[in-house]
Point group: C2
Chain length 280, copies 2
């Protein structure tokens, strides 16, 4: 596995591989890799000739009051997980490498990015779409891998790829969970022991809501309430949102029709966690 | 020369050419080709192995009150000019081919696209940047050719390419003019004979302003006024803007320092014309 810091060098290395007919799989990350990322890389390894992992904590997708500064960074451990999962190349650019001049160009995926996390974190998906497209243009992958845990991000990227005529297949990979159901997330390491103990309530709430839907309930309000009642029982949790949305444009539903998603975001102390389930 | 209507077919044809090591030159147009476009294509012909011309009147860059419907369309004549200028492939997609689903993704080049035409035509450069990036993603050219007549468009595209890490060289090609100085434009064919006679006043005004600047004047207001006095003498002309801007971000200057641009937009009857000169 090779670690590359320069976009130019990465492009040149990949050029050679592409000329020899290799397909390129790409896993963009913000580092602080965990078993969820490992699964993305492993999937890319199975399906592609060359596997590229990028590690870049993108300032553009954090609001000034958010956790950009304290976001966990651990390059050595990330290299180890990348290597063990089958990565060939790790792209670890500096902020100056990605933004050598003030970024004046932005990619906006309207509608899909407006609700849920888009409403709670204004500008977040603009930052995500912009950096992902920049990385896509550097790597020019055949396939790119994203986790279902960030379902709205996935929907935003899929729509961007389709709308912008990008010749890239987006592969969605199932959420990896701890044994108590908590979705793997780099932000889990912010949690104090008591918070960690409360955190799986989000997944339990999603499962309870999904169970009601699977039993035949079609009223989105009742489905939401079946989850919300569990979340409200956890006094250390503040609900950011808990919603029932369609799976393509992430718009709120009143009457559900599978496939649809139930998605939630909660605050535990100073940590914000998200999760979702697909009802298909 | 081959005419292609499908993005998929174009991609496949170009794939073969690229694999054999050909460089791809790209000239995106809205059709109604004239000698200015011919020069873009000829430049691409000299510098590239394969020359692709796209013809697409992009609804996204026209406001509802603008001339989208009456914009001149003449495919047969466009094919002839393309062929005579050295094009190998003409891409002529339908609106449905370019926008099979509602376009929810938009590319915005802030600052560079805000002033001049960006102020007169809100949303115009968002439409331009979005379609050009879509076309870039379909063609994936090595070099793309744009005319200096649309200097702000050129600045927007150059900034987009730089900000979005696109591996494309943007080539700017000099404005082609009628013998009386009028810049070639598809919209010139809207002009009635009396209007056509008045139209070169825009270039004369730009030249008068440039002449004052070259004589050593540094006060942008005086430079503007040297042009505006000529435009105001033409009673059939209404000035949209006449400004002195820097050449990278198209921002208004108070004190000039070459290189900079003098740019103007005028209305003659129901026709809007633009032009500019670089003072270097």
């Amino acid at each position: 596995m090779r670690v590359v810091h320069s976009a130019k060098e990465l492009r040149e290395l990949l050029q050679i591989q592409k000329k020899s007919g290799q397909t390129v799989g790409f896993v963009p990350t913000m580092g602080a890799l965990h078993a969820g990322h490992a699964r993305l890389i492993e999937n890319a390894r199975i399906e592609c000739g060359i596997v590229v992992v990028s590690i870049f904590v993108n300032p553009l997708q954090f609001a000034p009051n958010e956790d950009f500064t304290r976001y966990p960074r651990n390059a050595e451990q990330d290299f180890e997980i990348s290597s063990n999962s089958g990565a060939d190349l790790v792209f670890l650019p500096s902020t100056e490498e990605m933004y050598p001049a003030p970024q004046l160009t932005f990619v906006e995926v309207t509608r899909v990015g407006d609700y849920l996390c888009g409403a709670s974190r204004p500008g977040h998906f603009r930052g995500v779409a912009t950096i992902v497209l920049k990385l896509f243009n550097i790597v020019q992958p055949d396939r790119a891998y994203f986790g279902e845990k960030d379902a709205q991000q996935l929907a935003v990227i899929k729509r961007m790829v389709r709308d912008m005529n990008l010749p890239i297949t987006i592969v969605e990979v199932q959420t990896v969970r701890e044994s108590d159901g908590l979705a793997m997330s780099s932000r889990n390491r912010y949690l104090k022991p008591a918070e960690r103990k409360a955190a799986p309530a989000l997944y339990r709430a999603l499962e309870a809501a999904a169970k009601l839907a699977k039993s035949g309930e079609r009223d989105a309000r009742k489905i939401r309430d079946a989850g919300l009642v569990l979340l409200r029982a956890e006094l250390s949790i503040r609900v950011d949102y808990f919603e029932v949305v369609d799976n393509e444009e992430m718009q709120p539903l009143q009457v559900v029709q599978p496939p649809f998603r139930i998605a939630g975001a909660i605050w535990i102390g100073t940590t914000r966690l998200i999760d979702n389930v697909l009802v298909s």
